[in-house]
Structures are given as structure tokens and as C-alpha cells.
């Protein structure tokens, strides 16, 4: 089968390129694009890879997924999509074996205790499994496409006339959310610039083009301005299993200020950002980039004497967050665990 071998080589090359791009970490890729890329790659692996049964397929996906996820630990989306695909395979397999969906999803204390003995075997091979899984992944891709719109649609429920909204940095989801609200309501937006990369500037430019009254301010002024703000609406990189955020650095300050002034903090995030990982001491989600933006390399002598750090993300604990708005509706942080068990299979939490 020379055709298959060629396709295999091509696939390997694409994988390598994707991993290299993740590693490079340049250019601030959209999480949505990353998610789509991951899914497309996984679909190819399923279509062209060598596997006989669901168990083998899951092993294959897991191995590739581990590799992709390890390339850039801060891009949790990759791992999330791998888990989603694994879940899809489990479901499709279960359906082929004729098991009802409800029984699988129920997670009772009793089941938790007995689940150890109920390890399914995935060794039976079904010829239709491949087509079914690919079909389900295509559905997932369609779902991905609609996420931002789904979130934006809820904007009118949360933003009212003449409100003052604060946000930080640049998030495409928040941008769409605010723009959607601006079609019907008039409100004011204050953008914290989010130094040193100042993505906030771009956000402000984009919002003001839609005739939204926009003010940019420095991160240091967050606390002072907070008393005037009705709502804080932010995006995030990742939602962790405990309902905490890994968001652009500066968000923790913002969240604490909001808490102090009892201003509601709303996080707009699509479900694919929900990661079943817990914050751990390894700091593995952390991403430190070149300190160039903080203190330019041209500074000279002083650089030998000091350490400069430039973290990209903040950890925001769940108790500071009022509400998550995802593509499937608004949820409190305490409900995240439930969403998680719907999206991922507990066995896949660890890839």
C-alpha cells in the first residue's frame, strides 16, 4: 500500500509541524484555531492510522495527544480536544455495543465505589466505528465554529444600558460579546492595557470602531477605577477543574479589585477551554517568555546584575469569579465539576 505509506509520512510531517508551531509559541494563536487544528489532526490519525479496535485507537490517540499536549503545556486546549475525542470514541463504542447513553453518564457515589471492577474492554472491533467516530468529530468541529456566536448571543442578558464595563487585554470572545450588546444598548467600556504586551490597545481600537465608548487605562489604575464599574467581563486562556482561571497576567489584580468593590466578575469562555487539570505546584501552565518587553536587552550593564521575569499568565482562584458564560449557558464556578464530567470521561483526565 504505497498510498497509505505516503499518507502516513505526510501525516507525520503535519504532526511535527504542528508540534513545532506549538513549541514556538509565537504569534498568539487563537485557542479556537488550535482546537480546530488539533481536531483535524486527530481526525486524520483516526482515518489513516493503523488500528483494529477501539482500545488500540484510544491508545494511539492518547500517545499522539500526550506528545502534542507536552509541546506547550500552557495550551490546554490541545489536551482538552484529545480528551473530547477519547470520550467520543467511548460513546460510539458504547452505542455500538448497545449500551444506553444515560447509564454511562450517571455518576453516583455507588458507581464511583464500584467502578474499579467495571473496566470495559474495548477489544471488539466494529467496522462502522471509524465512520461513526469521524462523523462525531465533524459534529464537534461544527460545534466549535458556533461557540463565539453562542456566547455573544447571551450578551443582552448581562449588559444593560448605561453600564460601565471593565475588561483587560484582548479576548476575541469578549470582543464579540461586547459588540453584540452594543447593537442594542449603549454602555461604556474601560480597557486595562495589560502591560507589557498591551493587547488592551488593540481591544480598544476594535471596540471604538463599533462606536462603543472606550477608555484605555494603565493596569495600575484598575483599583482606583473599579468603584465606578458595574461589571467586569474578561476572557481567559483556561478554566481549571476547580473553577479557577489561567488568564492573562494582570487578571488576578483585576479580580481582587472587583471582589473588594463587590463588582461582579464575568468570564466569557467557550467550553473547549475547560481543562480537567487542577492547579498544582509544578507551575506547569505557567509560561514565561523573553523578558525583552519588561526590560529591553539593550539596557546594558544592569542586566548582569538583576533577574527579569515576564510571566504571561495569572492564576485566578475560583472564589473571585461570579459567573462563567460559555457556549452552553451561564454557570457558577461551583458547577464546573459537573460540566467537566459531561465533557470528559474520568479515565481520560490524565492523558
Amino acid at each position: 500500500m504505497p498510498g497509505a505509506a505516503e499518507r502516513g509520512a505526510e501525516l507525520r510531517e503535519q504532526m511535527e509541524a504542528f508540534v513545532a508551531r506549538l513549541r514556538g509559541g509565537g504569534g498568539r494563536p487563537r485557542s479556537e484555531d488550535t482546537a480546530r487544528h488539533t481536531l483535524a489532526l486527530l481526525r486524520k490519525i483516526i482515518a489513516h492510522g493503523h488500528w483494529g479496535s477501539a482500545g488500540e485507537l484510544m491508545e494511539l490517540i492518547r500517545a499522539e495527544g500526550r506528545r502534542m499536549a507536552a509541546a506547550q503545556p500552557s495550551e490546554t486546549t490541545v489536551g482538552n480536544m484529545v480528551r473530547r475525542v477519547l470520550k467520543v470514541i467511548r460513546e460510539e463504542y458504547g452505542r455500538l455495543r448497545g449500551r444506553s447513553e444515560e447509564s454511562d453518564q450517571q455518576e453516583s457515589l455507588h458507581k464511583l465505589l464500584t467502578s474499579g471492577g467495571l473496566n470495559e474492554d474495548f477489544n471488539t472491533s466494529y467496522p462502522t466505528l471509524k465512520a461513526n467516530v469521524i462523523e462525531a468529530i465533524n459534529e464537534l468541529l461544527i460545534e466549535l465554529e458556533g461557540t463565539t456566536d453562542n456566547i455573544a448571543m447571551q450578551a443582552l442578558e448581562h449588559i444593560h444600558s448605561n453600564e460601565v464595563i471593565m475588561t483587560i487585554g484582548y479576548s476575541r470572545t469578549v470582543e464579540a460579546f461586547l459588540k453584540e450588546a452594543a447593537r442594542k444598548r449603549k454602555f461604556q467600556v474601560i480597557v486595562a492595557e495589560c502591560a507589557p504586551f498591551c493587547q488592551g490597545h488593540e481591544m480598544a481600537v476594535r471596540l471604538s470602531k463599533e462606536n462603543i465608548e472606550t477608555t484605555v487605562m494603565s493596569d495600575a489604575a484598575i483599583f482606583a477605577v473599579m468603584s465606578r464599574v458595574n461589571k467586569v467581563i474578561i476572557g481567559t486562556k483556561t478554566i481549571l477543574a476547580n473553577g479557577a482561571l489561567i488568564a492573562v497576567s494582570g487578571t488576578h489584580t483585576l479580580a481582587l479589585a472587583a471582589k473588594h468593590h463587590s463588582t461582579p466578575l464575568i468570564v466569557c469562555a467557550p467550553m473547549f477551554k475547560l481543562s480537567p487539570q487542577f492547579p498544582n505546584e509544578e507551575d506547569s501552565f505557567h509560561k514565561f517568555v523573553s523578558p525583552q518587553e519588561v526590560l529591553p536587552f539593550t539596557e546594558g550593564e544592569i542586566l548582569a546584575k538583576i533577574n527579569v521575569h515576564c510571566p504571561v499568565f495569572d492564576y485566578v482562584p475560583p472564589e473571585l469569579i461570579t459567573l462563567f458564560i460559555s457556549n452552553i449557558g451561564g454557570n457558577a464556578p461551583s458547577y464546573i465539576y459537573r460540566l467537566m464530567s459531561e465533557l470528559y470521561h474520568p479515565d481520560d483526565y490524565e492523558l
Binding site: R23, D283, F288, S290, P291, E299, G300, E301, A304
Partner: protein
């Protein structure tokens, strides 16, 4: 599987893959990577391991260079190896660059005949390896630079003015005093700010004053920028012409030769060099251990992001690290004893065991090292499999593979233990100690060789012949001291210079070669002056010619001064008669001096120049006893022509530490009278000032 392109490769080259030669348009971006430094700056370390494979933060330097090339979009890289080429090849074949998924095809060209960068590029031309613009780097460049912008500029320039610009050099902005700037590589550049054209390129070599040719500022260029805030990344975008130019000019050995040659002959050849300055990205060239230290610490401090240790860009399973606060990187299976502290900027490789109560900061530790209890490491660079016993202290030093440091040993800054050396127990190595298993005296035997591929086989026997000096390496030590004792301090300096690159270096390390050069130079200057006298050439043109001679022979300003004075004073003897008496001599000399006053004035500017000129004059008269009497007159003339100042003459006269002959000379009556006259004149003038 891609077709195995066997197109033109050097003898003994390894297997390489690549696209079919047919699929040409657009030509893939190519790179020439020179994996040999053609110098011995890293001796004795590079005796065991070629420089390109020295680990920087536990990853070989050449991997950084290849990653940089791949990330910037290079699709085909020619790796030229000479010294220890087999090792480099083996390393690369195991690495991810030779997997077939690699977007960058690596081809090897090995030859033992390369002696310089020039040879490599001549070979590139001979084998016509490059088809279009290519990137030229050495195997010790660490960079995260994205070449595409500079490449676009380069191509645009080539398009606008057909083939005028042949090279674009990449510089990184970094102000003087920066730790990643090394003295040796310090440069001053004059550029045309509108077009980024390089007008003048000069290494500072520790000089305090620089000369720029006048025509730089007289040309029609509107804004000339003179910059000293640039770091040469040693990355250049070259057109295929560069290789041709190297072929045409057999004397070009290094890139410096090339740049200098092109700039000097710009009018003749019509080729230009441009530059690209980057402020954001990182780029550095590791030319000595001081740079090694600086770049290592930059990598650890994440300046080269995304080329950081935890990214594991080499895709090697043994190289996975976790990154935590304060830039602590830990590999797999690292064990840290009770009470040990990793303070900041520490990298520990896989399988390393650290004992209890250690303090480690700003250090890089390789794989499978064993570190005892109560060890203090600050700025230590330990490579793989190093054994450190209890109570050892190491500061700013390099300890190579498999070396062993026994109990209670203390390494002061800038020590180097090359591979498999054992030191201790209980000794303190003074600053700048270099210890290697290779006996240092082997050096002299093959010193005339530029590259380092001889004398390896003989070593084994020698080790058996000679015992190790227990005083240097401790009672259980193994290794030879490479010049670092108090006895021969000069050598120590020299050694540290070459390894650490700390002091200013002298341009030419071979004294006899140097004197030979200056002799040739002297003859050339004499010839120029003779022609000038015969054809009545104006002084400005003479200055120009002498200047170009000065560059051609790489003569320092000080020496230049001495040669010039000597040549002019000897001129009448050469021209007329070697046995002139002092009277006739002076009358012959006088018109010459008057003619060439501007010449002197051009070169004699600082007080030290005056003094040098005087020494040259003194030397001349010491050599020609018969003319001694005219010294006063000559000095008088120099004084009257305002070439020499009275202060300096008095200063010179009162110098104590002269030879007997010099004292004899100073007793010359006329001279004493002249001095007396000068002194009086000075008193008068100072009196006059007071009034």
C-alpha cells in the same frame, strides 16, 4: 520517502535526503553552517569535543544553530566540518534534524583541508552548492532571530540595484557594557542611515580612539551613523557572489577579511554590504568562555525564548525539563538532598543526584552528575557525569564531562577542568587555572597549524611517560596544568585571554611573523615615500596610501609611528649615500621634513604619539653614531615645524630608564643646549602668561 539527492557532496559525506533537484522554483532557502571555528580558543576543552558540540544548557551549540535556521525557514543546510567531523556527524545523525520529518535537510560536507572560513566558501563555490541567497552562520550561534524581514530587505536591494549588495549582516542592538558583548568582538560601524549600507567596519580591539576615513563623510551620503551599540550575531545573508568573491580573492580567510576587503575596494568592485539591526530578538556568537557563560545564563533567564530548556526543542527524551519559579529547571529523576537549596537560575539535567545542604545558584548541571554534601556552586557549568565530592566550592568555572572534583577542593573563578580530569582532595585552584589530561607542551609542536587535527594520537604515550604534578592537581589528581601558575604569569594571562577572552587580545600571536610583517611594511612605506618624492605626490595621497598599507599589514598605530619616523630619517641615507657626515645629512633631511610635515601631523596627535616618534628618532640616532651630532638640529626642526611639542621633548629628555647609550646621547652638547633653550623658552612663555 523523498528521493535521495546525491548531488555534489564532499568525499565521505554521510547520507542526506532532499527534494529532487528538479523542483527548483522557488529555490529553497539554503544555509551554510560552518561547524568549525578554525581557532583554538576553546583549547584544551575542544581537544576532546569539537566546539560545535559543547553543551550550552545541556544542549549542543550546533543544535541551537540548526533550530534557529529551521525556525527561520531554511530548508537545506550544508554543515561543513573539519575538526572531529565524525563526532559532529554522529551527533547530528542521531538528532531530530536527520529524521525524515525534519523540514530542514541537513547535508554534510567534510574535509580535513579546510583551514578557514575562506576555504569553506571557496569549496561552496567550487561545488556550486548554493543556488540563490543563503544564510552563513557558524556552529556556535545562538539566536531566535527571524530572518525573513532581513531576507526580504536583502532581496529587494538585490532587485533594485542588480547584484550590488552582496551581503546583509545581522546585528543585535545592545549597549556597551552589556554582559553578552565581548571585548574581542567589539565593533564600531559607520553606516548610511538611509540605506543601511555598511560604510566602515572596524574591531575596537580595546582601542580608545578610532579613525574613520575622511571620504566617509565627504561622500554624498546625507546621514552617516557611527554606531558602537551593536553586537555582531555572526549571521549573514549572502548572495552566491560572496562565495565567488572568496574564490577570486585567495587571501580572504575570515569574514572580517572579506568585509574589510569589500569596503576598501568598494569603488573598484562595486559591491556593497548592508546591515540589519534587530532590537527584540536575541543573537549571539560564542567565541570564548566568557561569552559561553553569558549566553548560557541568557538561555536560563529566557532571553532566547522560545529556545528555553523546558521547550525541549531537540526532541530528545533525556532533555525534558520542568520550569518553576526563579528559573529553576529540573530534569527527570533529579534528586535533591535534605537542606539543599536551588536559589535561582539553575538547570539540573536528568538523573543528577545532589547531596544534602548544598547551595546552588546560577549554575548549569548536566546529566547523571553526582554532587556531594555541603557543596557550593555559583556560576558553575558542570557537564555530564561530573562527580563532585563533599564540601567543594566552585565559582564561575567550567567542569567538563566525567571530571571529578574531590573533597574540600575550591575552584576560584574562571577555572576550567577539561574532561576526565581529577583534582583534589583539599586543594584550592587559583583564578584562571586550566587543567587538562592533554599535556600542554604538545601545543608548541603543532603550533603553526591553524586548525586542530594533529597530535592526537601521540597523546596516549605521553600520558604514560610523564607523571602528573601532584602539587597542581592534588594528591589523587589526574591532569596537567595548562599554564596557570604564579611562575609564568604572562602565560597565564595569555591562556585566560584565549579561553575566557577577558583581556584585550593582541592582533597577531606570532612574534616572528609580526616582525616580518612590520619589516615588509617598512619597505613598502619607504617605497611609497620614494615615489612620492620622485613624482611629487601630495601629502594627502601619501597618507591615503600609507593608511591602506597600514590596514593591509595590520599594523598598529604605535608601530606605524615608529616605522614612519625611522623611514623618513633613514631616507637621506638610502637616497644619497650611506656614509654621509652629519652636516650633509641634515641639509638633505631638512627639505624632506618640510615637505612631509602634514604626513607627520596626520599621525602624531596624542602625547603618546609624540613620545613614540621621539623614541624612534632616538633609536635611529643610536644606530647611526656618526650622525649623533645632528640630533639637536633634527629635533629643533621638528619643534619648529610644530610636529613635536616642547613639553614632550623635555619629558623624553628627562626619562630615566634609558640605556647607557641613550644616556650618552643625552650628554651630547648640542642636544643639551637645545634642551636648555627649550626650558628657557618655556619659562619665558609661562612668565609671559603670568603677566
Amino acid at each position: 520517502m523523498a528521493a535521495r539527492g546525491a548531488a555534489r557532496r564532499g568525499a565521505g559525506a554521510g547520507p542526506g535526503r532532499g527534494p529532487d533537484p528538479q523542483e527548483e522554483p522557488p529555490p529553497p532557502l539554503q544555509a551554510v553552517l560552518v561547524a568549525d571555528s578554525f581557532n583554538r580558543r576553546f583549547f584544551p576543552i575542544s581537544k576532546d569535543r569539537p566546539r560545535a558540540l559543547l553543551p550550552m544548557a545541556n544542549v549542543a551549540m550546533i543544535d541551537y544553530t540548526l533550530e534557529f535556521l529551521t525556525a527561520t525557514g531554511v530548508e537545506e543546510t550544508f554543515v561543513f566540518c573539519c575538526w572531529k567531523s565524525a563526532e559532529i556527524k554522529e551527533h547530528l545523525q542521531k538528532s531530530k534534524w536527520c529524521r525524515h520529518t525534519s523540514p530542514n535537510t541537513v547535508r554534510f560536507v567534510t574535509s580535513d583541508l579546510y583551514r578557514s572560513l575562506g576555504d569553506v566558501l571557496r569549496d561552496v563555490d567550487a561545488k556550486s552548492l548554493v543556488r540563490s541567497d543563503f544564510i552563513l552562520v557558524t556552529g556556535d550561534v545562538v539566536s531566535n532571530f527571524n530572518i525573513s524581514a532581513a531576507l526580504e530587505e536583502h532581496k529587494l536591494r538585490r532587485k533594485m540595484e542588480k547584484n550590488v549588495s552582496v551581503m546583509t549582516m545581522i546585528f543585535k542592538e545592545s549597549s556597551p557594557g552589556h554582559h553578552a558583548r565581548c571585548k574581542e568582538d567589539d565593533i564600531v560601524i559607520a553606516m548610511d542611515s538611509a540605506t543601511n549600507r555598511v560604510l566602515h567596519y572596524q574591531r575596537t580591539q580595546g582601542l580608545k580612539r578610532f579613525r574613520f576615513p575622511m571620504n566617509l563623510f565627504q561622500n554624498s551620503i546625507e546621514n552617516v551613523e557611527v554606531r558602537h551599540d551593536l553586537l555582531d550575531c555572526h549571521i549573514s545573508i549572502c548572495s552566491p557572489q560572496v562565495a565567488e568573491l572568496f574564490t577570486d580573492n585567495f587571501d580572504y580567510q575570515t569574514r572580517d577579511d572579506f568585509v574589510r576587503g569589500l569596503l576598501v575596494n568598494e569603488e573598484v568592485l562595486g559591491n556593497q554590504i548592508h546591515m540589519h539591526v534587530t532590537t527584540e530578538e536575541y543573537g549571539a556568537h560564542i567565541c570564548n568562555l566568557l561569552m559561553y557563560e553569558a549566553v548560557c545564563s541568557d538561555i536560563i533567564r529566557r532571553w532566547v525564548y522560545p529556545l528555553t530548556p523546558e521547550m525541549n526543542f531537540t526532541d530528545d527524551e533525556n532533555q525534558s525539563y520542568t520550569h518553576s519559579k526563579h528559573n529553576i529547571y529540573r530534569g527527570v529523576d533529579v534528586s535533591l538532598g535534605h537542606g539543599s537549596v536551588l536559589e535561582e537560575n539553575v538547570l539540573i539535567g536528568q538523573g543528577t543526584v545532589v547531596g544534602s545542604n548544598c547551595s546552588i545558584t546560577n549554575s548549569v548541571i548536566g546529566q547523571n552528575c553526582k554532587i556531594g554534601d555541603k557543596v557550593v556552586l555559583d556560576g558553575a557549568f558542570l557537564w555530564d557525569n561530573v562527580q563532585i565530592a563533599d564540601n567543594v566550592e566552585i565559582f564561575h568555572s567550567v567542569v567538563c564531562d566525567n571530571a571529578e572534583v574531590k573533597e574540600e577542593v575550591k575552584l576560584k573563578p574562571h577555572c576550567v577542568l577539561s574532561s576526565q580530569v581529577v583534582v583534589g582532595p583539599g586543594i584550592t585552584l587559583s583564578e584562571g587555572t586550566v587543567i587538562s589530561l592533554h599535556p600542554p607542551d604538545e601545543e608548541e609542536e603543532d603550533d603553526d597549524q591553524f586548525s586542530d587535527d594533529s597530535g592526537v594520537n601521540k597523546e596516549e604515550n605521553k600520558v604514560k611517560l610523564k607523571g602528573y604534578n601532584k602539587k597542581d592537581v592534588g594528591s589523587e589528581g589526574k591532569g596537567y596544568l595548562w599554564k596557570a601558575d604564579d611562575k609564568n604569569e604572562e602565560d597565564e594571562e595569555e591562556q585566560r585571554q584565549s579561553l575566557w577572552g577577558k583581556e584585550e587580545i593582541c592582533a597577531l600571536p606570532w612574534p616572528n611573523y609580526l616582525s616580518f610583517l612590520s619589516l615588509v611594511f617598512q619597505n613598502e612605506v619607504l617605497g611609497t615615500l620614494q615615489r612620492g618624492e620622485e613624482e611629487n605626490i601630495s601629502c594627502d595621497n601619501l597618507v591615503l596610501e600609507i593608511n591602506s598599507l597600514k590596514y593591509a599589514y595590520n599594523i598598529g598605530l604605535k608601530e606605524m609611528m615608529q616605522v614612519l619616523s625611522k623611514v623618513i630619517l633613514e631616507f637621506p641615507l638610502q637616497q644619497l649615500d650611506a656614509n654621509l657626515d652629519s652636516q650633509n645629512y641634515f641639509s638633505a633631511l631638512l627639505p624632506l621634513l618640510k615637505n612631509w610635515t602634514p604626513l607627520f601631523k596626520n599621525y602624531i596627535k596624542r602625547a603618546s604619539d609624540h613620545l613614540n616618534a621621539l623614541f624612534a628618532i632616538e633609536e635611529f640616532f643610536l644606530e647611526h653614531d656618526s650622525l649623533c651630532t645632528s640630533i639637536a638640529k633634527v629635533l629643533m626642526t621638528f619643534y619648529q615645524l610644530e610636529i613635536l611639542e616642547e613639553d614632550v621633548i623635555l619629558n623624553w629628555f628627562s626619562l630615566r630608564d634609558t640605556s647607557d647609550k641613550g644616556k650618552q646621547l643625552r650628554k651630547n652638547q648640542r642636544l643639551q643646549k637645545f634642551i636648555q633653550w627649550l626650558e628657557e623658552a618655556e619659562e619665558e612663555s609661562s612668565d609671559g602668561d603670568q603677566d
